[in-house]
Symmetry: C2
Subunit: 148 residues, 2 copies
DNA sequence: TTAGTAAATAGGAATTATTCGCATTTAGAA
DNA sequence: TTCTAAATGCGAATAATTCCTATTTACTAA
């Protein structure tokens, strides 16, 4: 989210982004959206909640879950399969790919220009509308490689 | 898994596959592996357990969880982020890609030849060893598209 | 402005998914 | 065969996610 002198912190732009997605620009959503834009940890719902609870003491964990689900449905967020299959999200805006460690499930961001990117077809069989295309690398991270 | 006249059902080949991966060829593993090879539902641990409990009444759910984790680590299985981030797996052998519905989380198999497949680099920054590369489509399935 | 209204939130309880601990069993090596 | 590390089954424990509902809030239109 660009931050201009007229919009320190980017709050106005974020509110517009929410409204453009057909959502009310509520305080919890603005806070969560901001957190997501800057959090590079591929956080879980709990991690987001923890990172915000001091600034927003009335925020509830179930609101975080609900909000993530809403954002996912509007394409404001990517879902990642973390270790044990638990929910992790990625709310950073720029296109990038993910590498997931086969053994420990750790997720790493990968520069999308490392490979020649396929052009996505507009639609797929079964009437699937393509919204985005990402590359996922199945990897062995250095920690896990040394255990083998 | 190929089935030859000498190995009806493919059990011997499966046992070899397990041993090749450094694992003991136990009865639960053979059963689970067979189920995974044929189950196209992108099943959860529970779904696999349910599909086997009649034939293998002594099988336990925690063994299914453990076995899936083991198979994942040996690359016998792919992990998928299902709806709500719950664990789903794909144990079908052939290369293929996945389309995941943004809204409901449904997973569809996609023919890998639909696009020009990028050649994976052998390694990535941070000492990541690349084992595999898949394409993931973020889509809207026809059910969810009609709700919008 | 200021109601009116549908949508969103908080909080806790309920449910579901996953992991753990440990006694028993088993595959494969010697 | 016998031995041993690894794997299993079971139930209990924990953790993650969803559900319920009274209250609050953003936006709409008068």
């Amino acid at each position: 989210m660009a931050v201009s002198p007229q919009d320190p912190g980017g709050g106005v732009a974020r509110a517009e982004k929410l409204r453009a997605a057909g959502l009310k620009a509520t305080a919890p959503r603005l806070t969560i959206l901001e957190a997501l834009e800057t959090d590079r940890r591929h956080p879980s719902a709990e991690m987001i909640f923890e990172s915000l609870i001091d600034k927003s003491p009335s925020l509830s964990l179930s609101t975080v879950y609900q909000t993530l689900e809403t954002f996912l449905q509007r394409g404001l967020l990517r879902r990642i399969a973390g270790a044990g299959g638990k929910l992790r999200v990625d709310g950073t805006l720029q296109d990038h790919d993910h590498a997931v460690c086969r053994t420990c499930g750790a997720v790493f961001d990968v520069d999308p220009d490392l490979i020649k990117r396929p052009r996505p077809p507009a639609s797929l069989p079964h009437g699937l509308q393509v919204k985005n295309l990402f590359v996922e690398y199945e990897v062995l991270c250095s920690d896990c490689a040394s255990d083998e």
